[in-house]
Each structure stands twice: as structure tokens, then as C-alpha cells.
């Protein structure tokens, strides 16, 4: 493992790096088969003590001044995420329709269409999990009605992401999109994504309620967004790329967030601040239920940015996937772990 990391660090200059995508030798077709037959990662969890020392999770956010991060640099990740997404009419089209679908769900549900926050409707999970819950709980009276609506919008998101994430992963990995291959196992992915997104909704609401009491709702939202993106942001990618079940996807996403170095956190914090800027820019505008062309245009462009960041995360996951064990953590005696 350590050798592989070194080899990547010695990779060619940026333009060439982009042609040497991680795991390029493993086409999505193989992954799809793996998804159907079970996760491709080792079936037996790797004990912590058997991981190379530099790959062991280090604290909540890795270790800032420790060994170099195994993740590719920010610029390379963004370039590798952005280009295939921006050059694919299919990915762009599905992403745009995703925005329309979520907006339409809010409008059809009788909740006031969140036109002022259109641009974050398609943000990476789990950002919308909290947003959906807060808006729908505010707009509806009755716990059952609210839960039904939250579940409804979660299903809409799962239907869209089950198409977008495999397309993005394939585009990042292979530089091209083959929809038939990418969308194989679509309905299974929808079910897994409903599981992931539902867990994220529950976690987001729980943390929000706990934190809101003493830090206020605004800070609680910040914390849910930042921690959620840091630890759970890769879960849909893990689910698609590895064919992992919901719980394992969340677990491996959290493990990936704890790899040494700050590169993952840097990408997340930049994206987090982008969300703040977008929210401030559009949230203060006068409310209009029927979005205008500029309103849609801004929201669609930001949706493109969301999916480009998804591409960057997918690229990064493919770069570190072999370092992240699957399955639950195995407890080992302290002496052994220290060796």
C-alpha cells in the first residue's frame, strides 16, 4: 500500500496525470459486476494494526502536520472532477433535471417553493438532508405529514443520485460515459441511496436539535453541513464504486475522511464556504415563487458546481479506495495496535 502511494505521488505533470486516472485499469463494467456480486474490497476487514502506519486514521480530521495526504492535490482533483462532468451532456442534463425535480416536489407538496435557496437544492448530501427536513417541518402541520414529505423528497433525491453518481464515477474513471453500463443495477442503487439519505436525515436532525439548544440554529446548520460533508460526503460514491451496502458506505466514507493530511478537509471547507456564499447571494433576494430565467440560470450553474465537486470526490475516492477497509472496525489490544 505504501508503495502505491509513493507511485502516485511521483505521477506525471497535471495534463498527464489526468490521463492516468486512478484504477483506470478497472472499467466500470467490472465494478458493476462487483456491485452485483458484492463489494470488491476485501471481504475480511483489515485490522487497524495491519494497515500501513501512514494510512491509519489519525484523529477526527486526520493529522494536519503528519505524513503527506494520500489524496491527490486539490487542483488535480477539481480538474479531474470538472472536465468529464462539464463535457458530458448526459450528466449535465440529468443534473439539471434533478434540480427541477426537487423544486417541483416542494411546489407540488404545497410547501412554498424554496426559490431563494434553489441553488443549494442539489448540494451534495448530506447538506440537503437538513434543509429538506427544516423546510418541510416548517411548512406542514403534523408529524406524519412532515415525515411522509421528507421521505418523498428523499426518494426523489435517491432516484436522481442513483443515475448521477454512477455516471460521474464512470466519467471520472474512464473519461467517457456509457449510460447503459453506468445505470446497470439502478434500482438496487436507489434502495441503497434511500437508506444512506434516510440515515443522513436522521443524523442531521439529531445533531441539529442537540446543537441548536446551546449554539443557536444558524451555527447548528453550519456544524451539520461541515461535519456531514466531511464524514459522509463520499458515501454515495462508495456505494456506487464499490457496490457497498448503505451502512458500509457511510462507514468507509467516514474512514476516508480520517486519512492523514488535510487535503480532504481543505476541499470540504472550500465547498462549505461556497455554499455559504451561494446561500447569502440568493437567500437575500426578494421572494418570487416562479423562478425567472436568471434565477434558474444561477441555480443551474451552481448545480453544475455541485456535481463537479462530486466528480472531484469521486476521483479522490478512486485514488484512496484500496487504503480504506470495509466492514466494521475490529477491536485489537492496545499493545498490538501500537506495534
Amino acid at each position: 500500500m505504501g508503495r502505491k502511494g509513493k507511485r502516485r505521488r511521483k505521477s506525471k505533470p497535471a495534463a498527464t496525470v489526468s490521463s492516468a486516472a486512478p484504477n483506470e485499469r478497472e472499467p466500470l463494467e467490472q465494478e458493476t459486476v462487483a456491485a452485483e456480486e458484492g463489494p470488491k474490497a476485501p471481504a475480511v476487514p483489515t485490522p487497524r494494526s495491519e494497515l500501513a502506519p501512514r494510512d491509519r486514521p489519525r484523529g477526527l480530521f486526520g493529522r494536519a502536520l503528519g505524513p503527506e495526504s494520500p489524496y491527490p492535490p486539490l487542483g488535480v482533483s477539481m480538474a479531474r472532477g470538472l472536465r468529464p462532468v462539464a463535457a458530458s451532456p448526459l450528466i449535465l442534463g440529468v443534473t439539471f433535471l434533478y434540480l427541477l425535480a426537487v423544486w417541483g416536489f416542494f411546489a407540488a407538496a404545497g410547501a412554498e417553493p424554496p426559490t431563494g435557496l434553489l441553488a443549494i437544492l442539489t448540494a451534495l448530501p448530506p447538506v440537503p438532508s437538513l434543509f429538506d427536513s427544516l423546510v418541510l417541518l416548517q411548512e406542514t402541520s403534523g408529524a406524519v405529514a412532515s415525515l411522509v414529505l421528507v421521505l418523498g423528497v428523499t426518494i426523489v433525491r435517491a432516484l436522481a443520485l442513483a443515475a448521477i453518481v454512477p455516471l460521474v464515477v464512470q466519467a471520472v474513471r474512464e473519461g467517457t460515459v456509457r449510460p447503459r453500463e453506468a445505470l446497470r443495477g439502478y434500482f438496487r442503487r436507489v434502495l441503497s441511496l434511500v437508506g444512506i439519505l434516510s440515515l443522513e436525515v436522521a443524523l442531521a436532525l439529531l445533531v441539529f436539535v442537540l446543537v441548536q439548544g446551546f449554539l443557536g440554529s444558524q451555527l447548528a446548520i453550519f456544524i451539520v453541513w461541515l461535519f456531514g460533508l466531511q464524514f459522509l460526503g463520499m458515501a454515495p460514491i462508495v456505494m456506487v464504486a464499490e457496490g457497498a451496502p448503505s451502512a458500509d458506505s457511510l462507514r468507509r466514507s467516514a474512514r476516508a475522511a480520517r486519512l492523514p493530511g488535510m487535503r480532504h478537509f481543505t476541499l470540504i471547507i472550500i465547498y462549505f464556504f461556497l455554499l455559504q456564499i451561494v446561500t447569502a447571494a440568493q437567500g437575500g433576494a426578494p421572494f418570487v415563487a416562479t423562478p425567472t430565467i436568471p434565477t434558474w440560470g444561477f441555480a443551474l450553474f451552481v448545480s453544475f458546481v455541485h456535481v463537479a465537486v462530486l466528480g472531484a470526490l469521486a476521483y479522490r475516492w478512486l485514488a484512496v479506495r484500496e487504503r480504506i477497509p470495509s466492514g466494521p472496525a475490529k477491536r485489537v489490544p492496545r499493545e498490538r495496535a501500537g506495534r
Binding site: 495534463a15 489526468s18 490521463s19 486516472a21 470538472l82 472536465r83 468529464p84 462539464a86 463535457a87 451532456p89 449535465l92 442534463g93 439539471f96 427541477l100 411546489a107 412554498e112 417553493p113 402541520s141 474512464e174 473519461g175 467517457t176 426578494p286 421572494f287 418570487v288 415563487a289 416562479t290 423562478p291 425567472t292 430565467i293 436568471p294 434565477t295 434558474w296 440560470g297 443551474l300 450553474f301 453544475f304
Partner: protein, 418 residues
Amino acid sequence: MLALAPAAAAQPADDSWPTAGGDAAHTGVASGPEPPYRVAWEVETDDDDPIGAPVVVDGLVIVVTRESVMALSAGDGSEAWSVDREEGPAGAAVVLGETVAYAEGRDDGASLVAAGLADGAELWSFDLDDSASGPLAADADTVFVATSEGFVHAVDVETGDEDWTFEADGETLGAPAVADGLVYVSAARPSARAGTVYAIHAETGEEAWRFSPSGSALGFSSFAVAGDLAYVGTGDRTVRALGVEDGREVWSRVVRAPFGPRSMPAVPGDLVVGDVLGGVYRLGAADGEMAWDFRVPGSLLSGSPIVAGGFVVVGDDTGQASAIDLEEGLLVWKDVFGSARLEAPAADGDHVYLASRGGRVVALEHDPDAALLAEPSPTTLFPAKALLNFAAAAAALLVLLLLVFRVLLPAPREEAGG
């Protein structure tokens, strides 16, 4: 008889608006003028902050600013008189016959002052326990003032003597309303997250009934009373109609946002109420059924809707004044008067008066040469238009992105080849 006298006093003469909300019951209705409007006159006061809602009696517009009380001619805005006022929260004055009453000062230095309507000369002063929480109210011979300490004082307008004091559970909010021998006031205990509305006998100060809604203690409006029902907005985003006899809830209607404490519903037959997100709603007075809702750009924290000439007139905290057709819920007129918050308007048949926190007083009159608008509420969704806009924006962005990333900045060959 006791019950009849205040009710008679609650109906203003057609050319007067003697208290915030138009009359003691806050029904907020004037015979005119109708929109569209144009500026008849405009006055900049010396104070640029804050200013209370105007009241109008006998051709005089009375405005309370931070450090003065001014009487302006309703005809041309010329100053009839002006007196100094001890600095404190500015709330609307109230006029009873030849007397104008206003609150001044803050905290334990606050007091209630009565002055002659003709010249502003002080008649008497009554010490208050704390700052007034909002505009004053009055029936035939008594001034009612609620203070931030949670007390409601009834003071005889002739002598300045206190008739009674009522202590509410918490801090009182907004302006008391008076109708049919009862004084209505809201109070809140934010620490306990509890709010209560009270009906108090105007004659004795004894509690007639109380009602404690669930939900947030913040976000109560002032009361308006008409017929057998008293209307109030409560912190749980709910407009409630309570029976005046016993305070039982007759109906409730959830709206989008809570209410400003100085905001009060208008009752031009149906109920018109505004919330802090700028939502204006017309609700059935008897059943709370929503006829329409409209959203103005700014908050209605203290900009209550009023009805003039059959049109809802409202000023918001962006400085925009709007007129909405009472029947259809369409915006028929709007104009912007600076960027400071507008207080609740007043109307006297000929003019609508606006006071802005920037220290500006504006009189509007009907403009026979202008045309009415017919703009739907921004809250109205037009699905077909939304889809067309979406399609246009998506197509343009798609073409742009593909042009940039496939034509101008194509991927290296080996990458594109996969």
C-alpha cells in the same frame, strides 16, 4: 351603558385616525383615498430615527419622533406646533377630544404625558414604571398604556390620575386594544417560552379572561376587535379568533411567519393581517378561511395593514408602500419612500399618511391620472412559466458549458479516448 360607550368611541369620524389602528378596537378602516397615489406633501423631521405611526385628528397629523412630538397640517404638511420630548421609544400618540397623549422617556424615567391638541402645551404627566411597549390606546375618557415591565395602566384623561393598574405575567407586547368595555393586551415570558393574551375590564382593571397558546412566546401581534371576536396573531405563526365573552378559540389559521408586536390586523368585514416576512393575508372574519395572500418585499414588523377606500395599504421595512385590491389580492400600486422602515399608515379619507424611521412623513393623495397595476403576488406560482424559464436557462447553460469544455478546452486525446 358601560359597554356601549367605548364601542361608540371606537368608531372614528370619517376624517380622523385618532390612534394606531384607526380606532380603539384597531379595525383599521378609512373611507379613502383610493389608489393610485401621488405625493401630496412631504416633511423631513429633525430626527432621523425612530418615529411612531402617525395619527390624524381635526386636520392635524401628530407624529412622535425620538425627541419631539409634532403636529403637521394635514393639508400641506406645515408645522402647527412641536414640543420637545424626553428621548425614548417612539410609539403612536392617541387623541381624545382636545387632548393628545403620548409616552416619553425610557426605563424608570418613562412617563405618560397629556398635551393640548391645539398647541401641544403639557396638561399633566404620569410616571410609568418602564418604557411604553408600543402605541397608546384610549376609550371615551381613559388612556391605556402597557409597559415593558408587564403593567397596563389606565389613566383618567381629564386629571391624569390612575384609575387602575393590571399586572400581566411577563412583558407586555404592542398596543392595547379597547372594545365593548374590555382592554386586550398580549404578554410574553421569553425565558419560559410562554405567551398569554388577556382581556381586562376597562372599568375596573380586573381580568375577564386569558388565553395561552402553545408555541413560541415571541411573535405576537396587537389585537383587533370586531363584533363578537377578538383577533390576534400568536408566536406559533397562527392567527386566532377568540370569543370576546370568554376567550375561547373560535378559529385559528396558520400563516407563513410570526408577527410584529406593533402590527395589528385590520377588519374591513374580513380580516387582513400582515406577518414579519411581508405576508399579507385576507382571512374570513367568521371562519378564518383564506381568500388570498400577498407578499410585499419587506417585513411588516410594525407596518400594520390598513384599508383605505376598499384597498389594503401597507408600508414595509424596505421603505416600500403598497396597495392591494381587497377583493382580488392583486397589487394595484407601489412606491418606495427611502430605505428606512415604514410604520403603520394612517388615513383620513383624503390622504394616506406614512412615517418612516428615516424621519420622513409623507401624505399621499389619489392620483386621477395614473393607472392601477394588476400584479399577482410573488407567492403565486405559474408552473408553465417556471418550466419555460427553466428550459431556456438550462439550454443556454448546457450550450455554454459544452462549448467551453468540448470546443474551447477539449480534453487531451488519451483522456477523451478513455
